[in-house]
Amino acid sequence: MSVCPTYRETGEEGMVARGKLTLIEAFQGEELPLSRKFRKLVETCLLCGACARHCANGVRPDNLIQWQRSQLRERGPTSWTARLATNTLEAAGQWPRLMGPAASLAQALICKKIPAESGLHLRFPLAVLSQRRYVPRLSHSPFLTKVSDRALGHGPKVGLFVGCVGNYLFPQISEAILELLGRCGYQVIVPGDQRCCGMPAWASGDVETATALAEHNSRVFLESGCQWVVSGCGTCSTQLRTRIPELLGGAAPGAARFFLQQSVDLVAFIVGQLSPVVLRRALKSPGKVTVGYHDPCHLLHHQSIFEEPRRLLSLLPGVSVADPSDTHQCCGHGGLFNIRNYRLSSQIGLRSISRFDKSGSDVLATACMGCLMQLQESNWRHNAGLTVCHLVEVVTGRVAT
């Protein structure tokens, strides 16, 4: 209870794992009928995994909540965000209607460029409908249209999983990842037919779509002949490393094993593979700055990646790492959570941004695209004046303060 971000803001029992699990048990035991409130409570969870990581008894409330979402999905109409998520594969033609009169035509046109299964599709038309104010500009030329299917550089083959945000919103980050992996001595393969990692669908209970995406992506990467699959987004890498094996385990044990063992988060990958001497040569320091590092929940709670990014930063001459006094705090993004519970999400975002503001950071770096979007928005809304960027932009010397 002490680690739940939504409980910390609301102080309500229905927000915390203990409450949600009791309600799910009551619902399953038919003591609680299906209601809008129950659906709402099941949806109001960031799936950040903090409770699971701290649970001494090994309970996985996040997985149980996701499971309940998938059950509810089978039981007919659900909330509009969950509905949107469920329709990702076939929804392309429906977007203009769903957007309603409030959505601008321009936004609709831009969004049509994004394949329907992308997690981003759930976000951008809705940015207009929801209260989200700060929307990163969509890139005119998605990353994958520029670099797909080419093998770049020499050395052991690494497949780059780009992810929707890295493709459409922050292609410059994907370019920085290419550069970094190249400097580290890898040949980078970017399969052009890769799709969304499937996290948005999975998190909203749409196991079918998540499985279809898992099958597709695993086939594409296995065929590419790469030795590892690396992603610069903590959410994507969690989906690849933990969910693909779960979703495909029975049907495709080979693919499941490959993703369990060979798909790695970018930072953990290079820190794990390379010696500090090699790394120091590959990195480029941005100069004298104080960098705060925000731990993405998907890295910290789901993959126990804590030391690696800090070790990377410590190798940069001139860079000092800020150490906020209070404990880790989820950014409050949570994918669809941010849309469905915008106010609560912003409140949590404020708390996480002010930690770093107080700690005297110039730059706030993270290693997940979802966190990045949320922290940028929180930074903007609360006028914190930090430079919010991806860790890879710091270690390739691209960040400018």
Binding site: M1, S2, V3, Y7, G11, E12, E13, G14, G19, T22, L23, A26, E31, L32, P33, S35, K37, F38, L41, C55, A56, N57, S325, D326
Partner: protein, 475 residues
């Protein structure tokens, strides 16, 4: 049953958004850290003292029951709505109103999380010592109502030692301010101490004035492992007898050690009979010297090994073992029966021997750990509630444990409170005259019996009902 009109009136006081009657809220506010569940009829989230006074007045007029609630971390069922009524959730009254660094006093609202307060005062170089295990989410209001303790009680005492004054709404709806904002005060009866530990049966606490201390300069943690539990307990007696006063002196018995080791794999010797976790704090020179003295003393008492933490991270690692006990126990059996008896410090060896004897006779796995320094022992019996014979033997064992505790001059509960789980046993410790005096106080402050009914004092029918619920077999 609450009628619609009453709900409407409650909504008028707190606003519709903060007055809930949805089934989901009634489920979520019907439990605490015990395994028991009772459904309230409504939940209101109070935001200030005026609202609370209005709610209590309305409850008197109507009438209906009120059950104050912090974070629901209680171990004895103190916040359970056993007779229905309205849960008054205080989690949103969570402001730290002032921290006075010159007078070492903090004024807080009841919903402040204990750990948050500790962190805030620590930023100012100050210290709020009480540290119940749930300090990450339990609230000051709940700590005051149950008089929560913790590991540091040996040196620093418990919650009641830090409450200087209170603002509270009595069962009649009147607002009362008790105590002082000064270090001393003897004007009138000590109503503050009366309300501390009254488990929400006399008043709803709306503001707490707390005493603070300067943050100790440094801290040192040691872990000593013994072959026999008896040796560990002798070491405890020796440490305290030699004039040393650690801030914490915790012990774990063999079963607890094994259980934690199986769970965490941190290299605890599975064969060890007893383990002590000792923390000293104060000025750095003194801490270093005392830690060394304690280390030598433990070795003299045949400790197999003594580890001293060099850094905060290492100290945290040592504490990890002790903190993991409670959760790790569930690896043994699905259900836990947990008592927190306290005996005079020098009787710990006697009670430990008795517990061993009872465990063997009743064929139950009894695990002991806890605050050896102050005699407060957490006795945990891990059982499977679907086994009716085991439940019956446990029921008998608990009664025998309580009898033995009282015989040794101890008390039934050191820090959990009576709530409902210990109500059937209250008469074993407090005689009829004492109980009657308490009941008269209750009647004086809450004449209509509005506040937290079904707690502490029960008639024989109610006691039987609680016993039935406590020792129920799971189907």
């Amino acid at each position: 049953m609450l009628v619609r009109e009453t709900i409407r009136k409650l909504s008028a006081i707190v606003g519709r958004e903060r007055c809930r009657t949805d089934r989901e809220d009634l489920i979520c506010y019907g439990y605490d850290a015990t395994d028991l569940h009772y459904s309230p009829e409504a939940v209101v989230f109070a935001e200030d003292v005026k609202e609370i006074a209005a709610i209590v007045r309305l409850a008197n007029e109507t009438p209906f029951y009120l059950i104050p609630r912090g974070a629901g971390s209680g171990m004895s069922g103190g916040s359970l709505p056993v007779r229905g009524g309205v849960v008054v959730a205080l989690s949103q009254m969570n402001g730290i109103l002032s921290i006075d660094t010159e007078n070492l006093v903090a004024v807080v609202e009841p919903g402040v999380v204990t750990g948050h307060l500790q962190a805030e005062v620590a930023n100012l170089g100050l210290f709020y010592p009480p540290d119940p295990a749930s300090l990450g989410f339990c609230t000051i209001g709940g700590n005051v109502a149950e008089c929560a303790g913790g590991a540091r009680a040996l040196k620093y005492g418990v919650t009641k030692d830090y409450v200087l004054g209170l603002e509270a709404v009595l069962g009649t709806g009147e607002l009362v301010r008790t105590g002082v904002q000064t270090a001393k005060g003897v004007v009138g009866y000590d109503l503050t101490k009366l309300l501390v530990g009254s488990e929400g049966t006399l008043a709803i606490i709306t503001k707490v004035v707390l005493k603070l201390l300067p943050q100790p300069e440094s801290r040192r943690t040691l872990m000593a492992v013994f072959e026999q539990l008896g040796e560990a307990i002798t070491a405890v007696t020796r440490i305290i007898g030699s004039g040393l006063l650690p801030c914490a002196l915790e012990f774990m018995d063999q079963r607890s050690i094994r259980c934690v080791e199986d769970y965490l794999n941190i290299g605890l010797p599975r064969g060890a009979g007893g383990l002590l976790l000792i923390e000293v704090d104060g000025v750095t020179e003194g801490v270093t010297r005392h830690a060394e003295e304690i280390r030598e003393l433990c070795l003299r008492e045949r400790a197999q090994r003594v580890d001293t933490a060099g850094s905060e991270a290492e100290a945290d690692e040592l504490w990890q073992a002790r903190r993991a006990v409670s959760p790790a126990l569930f690896r043994l059996n699905p259900d836990k029966v947990s008592e927190d008896i306290t005996v005079p410090r020098n009787r710990i060896p006697d009670i430990v021997a008795t517990l061993e004897e009872i465990g063997q006779r009743q064929r139950l796995g009894i695990l002991c750990f806890g605050h050896a320094g102050d005699g407060n022992i957490h006795v945990n019996i891990m059982i499977d509630r679907s086994d009716s014979d085991e439940v019956a033997r446990t029921k008998q064992a608990v009664k025998e444990i309580f009898e033995a505790t009282l015989e040794l001059g101890g008390t039934l509960s050191g820090e959990h409170g009576i709530g409902i789980t210990k109500t059937p046993y209250l008469g074993m410790e407090i005689d009829e005259i004492g109980l009657d005096a308490m009941r008269r106080i209750k009647t004086a402050l809450d004449p209509k019996g509005i506040l937290n009914p079904g707690k502490i004092f029960l008639d024989s029918n109610e006691r039987a009902a609680v016993m039935g619920k406590l020792w129920k077999t799971r189907r």
